[in-house]
């Protein structure tokens, strides 16, 4: 097999299969770039956003999730687990997660689907099979494949192999990133990627307290991607009462205005859904409690604030 264009292509016959950890592959994804897309969600993230709505993405490795509402109390997991993770406490099914080795034995016996392993180790080929199924939909709608997460740059070889495989098939590629990584990783992804969806989460002053990391490197990386000529869409997660301050919008607007080749700006309104997922995963990331999901008037208000600062934004998928 010879490569059909610039850059190397993935060839399972001659290379050791590259694998990565993925927690979901979502078809008919319409909020992660243009057209109908398939989004590959990478596991693992360097940030700890307090509003995270994909908490299953945070840890880099497969992780047991338990949804008590789906449990039918069949008791199969109690017998299956070699480590005694599942216990009854006052008639309630509780998990002693410390002892879990993520072996998946209980998941296999849980026919109700209450137990799930979030995240799978997959080869490039295994990911590309569902991605390739929808090629004609990408072509007809102007869509393609998006790598999201989590953070794709945490698994750079896997990300690059996927991008190469998609490009070899003529599929449009996009990467959603938080931008918190070494420039050379982005630089390597850049040549294989038709579009970056770049998140700006907060203004510098509160960035570290809200996301766990400082802003500086993120801002530099965004500028370098822009200057290198990469097509860019900016994504602005907005959480009411947290990062919807005039200072935040002012900061985002200044950056966006200074980078003239940014093609689009999406406002991602907060949703309270993440808090439920966190309890299912047994995670202790402090959830944002008591914040109501914003109304569409509120969202329009944010778009208006950006407009007043010279930035035309929208909600994703509505262009």
């Amino acid at each position: 097999m010879t490569s059909s264009g610039a850059g190397p292509t993935y060839d399972p016959a001659v290379m050791t299969p590259i694998t990565g950890t993925v927690f979901d592959i979502q078809k008919f994804s319409i909020h992660d770039g243009p057209g109908i897309r398939t989004t590959v969600f990478f596991k693992g993230c360097p940030l700890r956003c307090r509003w995270c709505h994909n908490p299953e993405s945070i840890r880099p490795h497969p992780h047991l999730s338990f949804d008590a509402r789906r449990c039918i109390g069949c008791g199969a997991c109690f017998k299956a687990c070699p480590n005694g993770v599942h216990r009854l406490e006052n008639g309630r099914h509780v998990l002693d997660r410390e002892r879990c080795r993520q072996c998946g034995a209980c998941v296999e016996t849980c026919y109700a689907g209450a137990l799930e392993t979030v995240g799978r180790t997959m080869t490039v080929e295994a990911v590309m099979t569902p991605v390739l199924q929808d090629r004609s939909f990408y072509r007809d709608s102007g869509g393609g494949m998006t790598l999201s997460g989590g953070e794709p740059t945490l698994q750079p070889d896997f990300a690059m192999a996927l991008l190469d495989a998609a490009r070899a098939e003529g599929i449009h590629t996009a990467v959603e990133t938080c931008g918190f990584c070494d420039w050379n990783l982005l630089d390597r992804l850049r040549t294989r990627c038709d579009l970056f969806l770049f998140d700006l989460k907060a203004e510098p002053a509160s960035h570290e307290s809200l996301t766990g990391v400082p802003f500086e490197r993120i801002g530099q990386n965004l500028r370098r991607l822009h200057d290198a000529g990469s097509p860019l869409w900016i994504r602005l997660p907005v959480v009411p009462g947290v990062n919807d301050t005039p200072a935040r919008f002012q900061h985002a607007a200044e950056i966006i205005r200074s980078l003239p080749r940014i093609q689009a700006v999406d406002v991602l309104a907060y949703h309270a859904m993440g808090t439920e997922k966190i309890s299912r995963m047994g995670l202790d990331t402090p959830p944002l409690n008591g914040i109501p999901t914003p109304s569409s008037e509120q969202v329009q208000g944010w778009i208006q604030q950006l407009a007043e600062r010279g930035v035309s934004a929208r909600t994703p998928g509505s262009a």
Binding site: Q26, K27, F28, I30, H31, D32, P34, G35, I36, H53, N54, D67, R69, R70, I72, C74, A76, Y111, A112, G113, Q133, D134, S136, F137, R139, D140, S141, G142, G143, R235, P237, D266, V267, L268, A269, H271, A272, M273, E276, P292, T293, S295, S296, E297, V299, T315, P316, G317, S318, A319
Partner: protein, 697 residues
């Protein structure tokens, strides 16, 4: 001036017809009375003459009802009244209705409803032209029976003519002189203009209603009206807006009928060119403005369908009205040709009722019946319980056998039933007059007059229920040996009571149709082909084909009530999967996988047609981006040779329902800015939130 335009507003007409539809209960249907009066008067004459006289008397005696401001006349309101005929009390009236009913009547199964006239010929020749043909044919035939038939045809045509003239008179009395002039003209002569052509078509539909026919179609309006539209355009007699307005007036009248009225647009011409034209677009515009649930618009697509038509259909669908349903010419035409339909005729097909294929104006009326296939699978499974050696292949053999036995019984029963409706005792002169070759042959539509014999659709129930069930048995019982056969049967017997783990195993560990999984999709494909070929093995008494249908409407609910739990994890007495769609809520991989699954079966032998319901979040198709996404869906229909799709844009109502009945919507995906979730797995608060947000969209 302003009042004049306001009074011609289709909106006003639509509101009035809607009101009529809501309020009409409590009135007396006088049609049986008028028919009996004629039956008595002409007693002793040949049956076709007597029936024609009954037909005539209804059209002569009924009240001509008009709506304020209408540009197209013709209403069903005049067939009933609030008071009984003079000199009759309730008992006397009932006695007459009984006398009427004793005479018997064709019905849906014996060929009556779901029909469509030969409008191209009617519009070309006018009522008098067809009458002349009947006279000529009378002279050419010497057989007295044929002559009597042709006489009955002439009686009905004259009655039709008089009915049109009565409308002219009513318009004249109301000061609507130009409308009256048009009606006077078309009472005998061929229509000259678009307006006259539409008017004649609409009054024909009303005459069908006067006969008690249900769900009659308009057919390919964009084809047979096109010459009139062009002529009027060239002569500067009409504008695009004016033509649209007239269609809107007809659509407003369809609202009065309150029954499914199929209208077909687009597709191929008989000589294999693209048939899409200006009127196709106007029909879409009329549908998306009048917004009646009864204007059942069907859009035909083929490889050469213009992009603008894909787009225009989407604009109509996105209003939430649910129309048009979209059809694939290549699949349907292939099937029609395969059973011997000449290519040019096959290309001219359209639909009646919801989705049923029809050769317009050339064929006997359409009918269908319900075939409970999952019931037969359960029978086969019970039989295998008694056998020492059990295997998937053996189960398939038993199932095939059960289907074959039941199919024979089903078609025999049907034939016995329709044999009770011989054409000489149940003649149908008016529809014969408007069906090709009846007049030339001097034969009633049901006595060999029609150019093509009827098709009877056998609705194969529960395709996905069956496919999911077979997949589960094959995989869990026979391939993986996870579930002993006897345990499965015990769980089904108990409707999973006390067998919840088995229930969950069946639900969650076997592939489900609608997710682009070849394991189960191939079973569905086999089922479609097998059942369709079984149907085609049988012939209708008197000629014609039994063909399969996968368009069960809502009969999946009663059919589900008849049977116990199934191995797909479906509870006893709950609905079967609907029509040709994946079982609702079990398609968890999104619309693209859904489309790949439904493209897997070859539907060309499903000659009555299939229904695949796609439910979409309106959010998915907003703006320009949304239009591009949707184009990918209609392109998939054409490219992947899917037979039919229809679209349901779900909104708040569905979400409310899903919140109350989460078990019915385990996999309803809702998208919220930037991410997505299964709706029924969310907490109540979050659900409310999503519903609330949506209300603002």
């Amino acid at each position: 001036m302003t009042t004049a335009t306001q009074s011609l507003d289709w909106n006003t007409v639509r509101d009035a017809t809607r009101r009529y539809n809501v309020n009409r209960t409590g009135t007396h249907d006088l049609r049986p009375y008028w028919r009996v009066m004629a039956y008595r008067k002409y007693a002793g004459q040949p049956e076709c003459i007597v029936r024609a006289r009954g037909f005539e008397n209804v059209l002569a005696e009924c009240r001509i009802h008009r709506y304020q401001g209408e540009r197209i006349v013709g209403s069903r309101a005049g067939f009933s009244a609030d008071t009984l005929p003079e000199g009759l009390d309730a008992d006397g009236f009932k006695a007459i209705v009984d006398e009427h009913n004793q005479r018997g009547h064709r019905n849906f199964w014996s060929g009556w409803d779901h029909t469509l006239a030969d409008y191209p010929t009617l519009l070309k020749q006018g009522i008098s032209g067809i009458r002349n043909q009947a006279e000529t044919s009378w002279k050419q035939h010497s057989d007295p029976a044929r002559r009597q038939f042709l006489e009955s045809v002439i009686i009905t045509l004259d009655a039709f003519s008089l009915f049109v003239r009565r409308h002219a008179d009513a318009c004249r009395t109301a000061g609507r002189d130009s409308l009256a002039g048009m009606l006077d003209h078309i009472a005998s002569q061929p229509p000259r203009t678009f307006h006259e052509a539409l008017q004649l078509v609409w009054l024909t539909q009303i005459v069908f209603v006067s006969e008690g026919r249900y769900a009659n179609a308009l057919g390919r309006v964009d084809q047979y009206l096109l010459p009139f539209y062009h002529r009027d355009m060239v002569a500067n007699r009409i504008t695009r807006d004016d033509a649209l307005d007239l269609l809107q007036h007809v659509w407003a009248h369809i609202e009065e009928l309150g029954e499914v009225t199929n209208i077909c647009i687009g597709g191929l011409t008989p000589d294999n060119r693209d048939a899409t034209n200006e009127l196709s677009y106007l029909a879409l515009e009329a549908t998306q403005t009048v917004l009646s649930p009864h204007t059942n618009l069907s859009a035909r697509f083929h490889d050469g369908t213009p992009e603008t038509f894909h787009r225009a259909c989407f604009e109509c669908i996105r209003t939430g009205v649910g129309f048009p349903s979209v059809f694939n010419d290549h699949v349907l035409i292939q099937g029609l040709e395969e059973i011997g339909t000449p290519p040019d005729v096959a290309r001219d097909y359209c639909m009646v009722g919801c989705i049923e294929t029809m050769l317009a104006g050339r064929q006997q009326a359409w009918s269908d019946s319900r075939f409970n296939t999952p019931l037969l699978l359960l029978k086969a499974m019970q039989r295998m319980r008694q056998e020492p050696v059990r295997s998937y292949d053996r189960l398939m053999d038993l199932f095939r056998e059960e289907v074959q036995i039941a199919m024979k019984e089903h078609t025999d029963n049907f034939n016995q039933y329709i044999d009770q409706f011989p054409a000489d005792r149940f003649p149908d002169p008016f529809l014969s007059a408007l069906t090709r070759d009846c007049i030339e042959r001097g034969l009633d539509i049901n006595a060999g007059g029609a150019q093509f014999k009827r098709m009877h659709g056998i609705c194969i129930m529960g395709l996905a229920t069956l496919a999911d069930s077979l997949a589960a048995v094959r995989k869990l019982v026979f391939e993986e040996s996870r579930l002993p056969y006897d345990d499965l049967m015990a769980a089904l017997d108990a409707d999973f009571e006390g067998h919840e783990a088995t229930h969950q195993l069946l639900l969650n560990r076997a592939p489900k149709y609608g997710n682009a999984d070849p394991y189960v999709d191939d079973i569905a494909a086999w089922l479609v082909m097998f059942t369709s070929e079984e149907c085609l093995k049988h012939t209708i008494s008197g000629g014609g084909r039994f063909v399969s249908a996968m368009g069960s409407n809502v009969s999946n609910i009663p059919a589900g009530k008849e049977i116990g739990a199934t191995p797909d994890g479906r509870h006893a007495h709950t609905p079967l999967s609907d029509a040709a769609s994946p079982h609702f809520g079990r398609d968890t991989n999104g619309p693209t996988a859904f489309l790949q699954s439904v493209a897997r079966p070859d539907y060309h032998k499903v000659l009555t047609g299939s229904v695949v319901n796609m439910k979409f979040e309106p959010d998915h198709f907003q703006g320009e981006e949304g239009a591009r996404r949707f184009a990918a869906v209609t392109h998939a229909l054409v490219r992947d040779r899917i037979q039919e799709l229809q679209f349901n844009f779900t909104g708040n109502e569905l979400l409310h329902h899903a919140k109350q009945h989460p078990e019915e919507y385990p996999n309803l995906v809702v998208r919220v800015s930037g991410f997505s979730a299964y709706f029924t797995r969310l907490g109540a608060e979050v659900q409310d939130d999503i519903i609330r947000r949506r209300a603002h969209v």
